[in-house]
Symmetry: C2
Subunit: 348 residues, 2 copies
């Protein structure tokens, strides 16, 4: 909406006004969309030889964007990436998005617009189109519920239940950064004042607020038939390794000193007197990919890393179920991989 006045509230715009604004801001143009936003349901053409991927994420946000540590655009971006990352983990192509939002009437419409812009910005590199959504009022919090639709060549999707004993375990990027960024924001928020960020802090905060979905890597793994199983790191490495092991009925050994930790995470951990390994294992929302591939594909996996300019690191190996899930520490000591990590109904 162009006449961006702070006086126009959601109460005066109304629900249909909000939908019109969103349609104007993010028009759909794909020939596969027969009807997008504005009817009872979106109508989509099927693509021959393709299967459909569909995933949904719910996200809660505070309305106190000024006091809080994330802007509406950050919230939108993170919601978008949480969805895109689910498609990346299947090796698919993201196509369409539905965005539902419940928002208190006192939230200024420009915040709602910024939130949509954040979602749109995250989706933009992948030409994902908005095809639907819903709006509701909320008494105190902002709720965002996104549903993403993607496609994948028939019977090629990477699931979490096809890991095989002997497979190598890989992760993309570096892990734990997002959780460290969140901790920095939370500690500064507790002080309730603006702060000057160090380069380390800026890097880690950005990794939390602007994660990158690994769409291209997932697609290359599928196209080149390199991986057996994949999952995205949303709950935390330890927990997500557990999901793969449960799904595939296998065990795993993770090499602690192989985990790709950024120099910024190490610097933060030194200053904060915490164990960077612990953050890497238990911290969620990295949105990196964890996948397994047979050892014979190791060179080809490294080639994907070179091509996408994203580090891909072998962090361990798939073992028989009876082996359990173990963390091999430097010096030869082993311990059980911690099970708990961030879960929404538990304390962090």
């Amino acid at each position: 909406m162009n006449r961006s006045s702070t006086r126009d509230s959601l109460k005066t715009i109304g629900e249909f006004g909000l939908i019109r604004n969103v349609k104007r801001q993010w028009p759909a143009s794909s020939p596969w969309i027969i009807t997008g936003i504005g009817d009872d349901a979106a109508i989509l053409k099927a693509r021959r030889g393709e299967q459909l991927l569909i995933s949904t994420d719910i996200l809660m946000g505070s309305i106190h964007f000024d006091l809080d540590y994330q802007t509406p655009k950050d919230l939108g971006w993170r919601a978008g990436v949480a969805n895109l990352s689910d498609i990346a983990a299947m090796g698919g192509t993201p196509l369409y998005l539905l965005v539902s939002i419940a928002v208190p009437v006192r939230v200024p419409p420009r915040h709602v617009r910024e939130l949509y812009r954040g979602i749109q910005a995250a989706c933009h590199p992948f030409n994902v189109e908005l095809i639907g959504g819903d709006t509701s009022s909320s008494p105190s919090q902002i709720f965002l519920s996104l549903t993403i639709v993607g496609s994948i060549r028939a019977n090629r999707a990477l699931t979490r239940n096809k890991a095989e004993i002997g497979d190598r375990l890989y992760v993309t990027g570096t892990i734990g950064d997002s959780n460290a960024g969140l901790r920095i924001l939370q500690s500064h928020q507790a002080n309730r004042r603006p702060f000057r960020r160090s380069a380390v802090e800026t890097f880690l905060i950005r990794r939390h607020l602007r994660p990158a979905p690994r769409i291209h890597i997932g697609q290359l793994l599928v196209n080149r038939k390199l991986a057996h199983a994949a999952i995205d790191l949303s709950d935390g490495l330890s927990s997500d390794v557990g999901h793969v092991c449960e799904g595939s009925r296998v065990g795993a050994e993770i090499h602690a000193d192989a985990l790709p930790l950024s120099s910024q995470l190490r610097a933060f951990a030194r200053q904060d007197k915490t164990d960077p390994l612990n953050i890497a294992l238990r911290g969620g929302e990295d949105y990196e990919l964890l996948f397994t591939a047979p050892a014979k594909h190791h060179q080809n996996v490294l080639r994907v890393s070179e091509q996408t300019r994203v580090p891909i690191t072998c962090i361990g190996e798939i073992k028989p179920k009876a082996f359990g899930r173990q963390l091999a520490l430097p010096g030869g000591r082993k311990q059980k991989l911690p099970n708990e990590s961030f879960q929404h109904f538990r304390s962090r």
Copy 2:
């Protein structure tokens, strides 16, 4: 979950426990589902010659089910029907559902299970399968976000933008009942005590809490090529007629004395000293279908009514855009069709 203790809270079950419970309660078995709940995304086979329908609804509920006027099961049912009805309005077949929920930790798990049971009960007659979802904690309210996927024979979906001048306007069932039921619940809730319901009240409350999606009627209209345009009555007749008129760039004349009002609505309105016509025009959440069909199909439309044992009533006619939207009152007087009805960001 069988050991249904009130002591097990969402905090102890955790997010993954909740997902396991839901999977057990509502297992997916369709051969079109390659992967359902439990991976990063669901994987679906495409059906040849069919197009995909997809729609999403967000719903907020109070956690005070004991004091409040709806049970968790009622809330689930209504959320399910809101989604099913969107597919009914396109003339499609509902197939899959994704359910996301944000719920305060102090809500007992049996309430969450009942809520899912309500959704499932609404979907059961149509064999809709649960393929995904997400969970989150919420500080004070329950948020439900449902996404439904359906299918329709290619290029046969009923949209709201194909009404033609001269078409007759029809509605299924009776209208305004749901809003009257809501008013009764709200007035009794204000008294904060249990009440003995009259037969009239019981009927209207049930129409609010347990609406029926008109799936079969929508499908018959499509299969027999009877209708030009359709929409479901969620915002209120007046507003939904407006959506069809805007979408199709036409006007409409509604005959006030043709509107199908239940005897229960009339009885309630007499007692409540309100105008039943006003409730029928502005009250939302009827989830009946509003559709337009050429006059030559009138007999065939009535046959659909006989066959489904649901009243279908001609309530007016599509007019040129310049005609506007008029309500013809008994005695020949005409007035503008009221524009406002329930919108989420406005007061009711």
